[in-house]
Symmetry: C2
Subunit: 264 residues, 2 copies
């Protein structure tokens, strides 16, 4: 888990809220800066997107920019501050103004799908701690978007805030499973098929009393619950996708129930 930088709060916040692309034109002695915060953040995001958080090192970012790792410290106080800025920067991709004409449920469905897709585009975001929000502009933007949609439900503010939390937990959780699934073959060097084949064979040897020990799991399996329709998509990914769709429906039904209860 990557934690938010604890350095000088003023410097961190300035880094986050500074207008993007602001050149910070410096006049005075000394050599011209060859890099910029924007360039560094961009390079770091490219690495994290392509190779995952584990591959994101100061050396790697520096190398991608033709510099050493230490050169970055002129622009960014530490790796964790860099991650903070990366995080908020990338959140800017999230759409904001969902159409509320067809009601909150349609808008929230779009929001959930977009957010889910966003996490899959930048899976490393899921490894940034949520404990201490970065308090960057785009983080607030994301919150603003959900609250605006849910405001349509007429739910009381306190409940609404908790519903927001619930939705985010769910979307993050669902995306995390897929993200980890996709990462696993690269991280371990073993394909899903090979892994499952090797494991399940040994499982049957080693757990001979499986059916008696886990009757409900066995029942589920015999009911075909672990089969998927689309054979072209990897099994674990397909499963995660289905959980996402069913989970969304359940959550929305639950929100409707809460509205009905509040209306009494």
């Amino acid at each position: 888990m990557v934690y938010a930088g604890q350095g000088d709060a003023r410097r961190s916040m300035a880094l986050l809220w500074r207008a993007p692309g602001s050149a910070d034109v410096r006049t005075g002695p000394g050599p011209k800066p060859g890099l910029s915060v924007d360039m560094i953040v961009e390079a770091a995001i490219a690495i994290a997107d392509a190779e995952g958080m584990a591959a994101l090192s100061m050396r790697a970012v520096g190398e991608r920019l033709g510099r050493t790792a230490m050169a970055l410290y002129t622009y960014v106080p530490s790796k964790s501050e860099l991650v903070d800025v990366m995080h908020d920067r990338v959140l800017a991709e999230l759409p904001a103004g969902y159409d509320l004409e067809d009601g909150w449920r349609a808008a929230l469905t779009s929001w959930a799908r977009d957010t889910w897709a966003f996490y899959l585009r930048h899976p490393w975001v899921l490894q940034v701690s949520q404990a201490r929000p970065v308090l960057g502009p785009n983080e607030y933007g994301m919150l603003e978007t959900v609250v605006r949609i849910l405001h349509e439900t007429g739910l009381e503010a306190g409940v609404l805030r908790r519903v927001v939390g619930t939705l985010i937990h769910f979307v993050r959780g669902a995306a995390q499973t897929i993200a980890e699934t996709r990462q696993a073959p690269k991280a371990t060097g073993v394909s899903d098929e090979d892994w499952w084949y090797a494991r399940s064979a040994v499982l049957m040897e080693v757990a001979t009393d499986f059916a008696e020990r886990f009757p409900m799991v066995t029942w589920l399996e015999r009911q075909g619950a672990f089969r998927v329709q689309d054979e072209t998509v990897p099994y674990l990914e397909q499963e995660a996708r289905e959980v996402f769709e069913v989970g969304l429906a359940i959550l929305f039904d639950g929100i409707e129930a809460a509205m009905a209860r509040a209306a009494l």
Copy 2:
């Protein structure tokens, strides 16, 4: 993120499914083993519980047992296999046989609370990748428990499996937020109060147009949605707790809606 070991599947599975406490009495030449897999796993869990996953190093585990890091490699093929065994071992703590007399909703509430408490006792478990399940006995035990409760709902097997996934996403997500919150002061050396005080002060300076830019968030804040009742519990933790309770209710209402729909 910690990934499952990709070593020899047979050796891994044997490690997982071996009877706990099995002494593996070895006869033959060579000195008597001074350690055992169980001792190592226990020590590693103690470290992870107390100091977090980041502090779990082979050197640290060795030191706790009065050995060097390399001594562990006689018993365990690699760190990632050790983490697998730790994971499955600790899952054994989860209660299994929930009483179904008062219906699935009561049982599932108990299950969710227990699982949530479990994750907070062992927050590092949330950092073990779910992508490739360890396939250990206790992982199946956990699945068995939830399926047994949900079987009461009469939902079709395919839907049931997805509901299980949804519930686990939610509980994990909720626990993760609290776990990270608790970890943060230790990891960064800055208390929640200090952190928030420093950040929010700068936020007001730097984002002067906050109210116009984020009207719904401002509305939520003015409605008092970010206030908590119990002043003695840290704010972020209290918030996470409330999200958990409200989220559970919403999910259960959603499950009931799915049942009603299926009954038509």
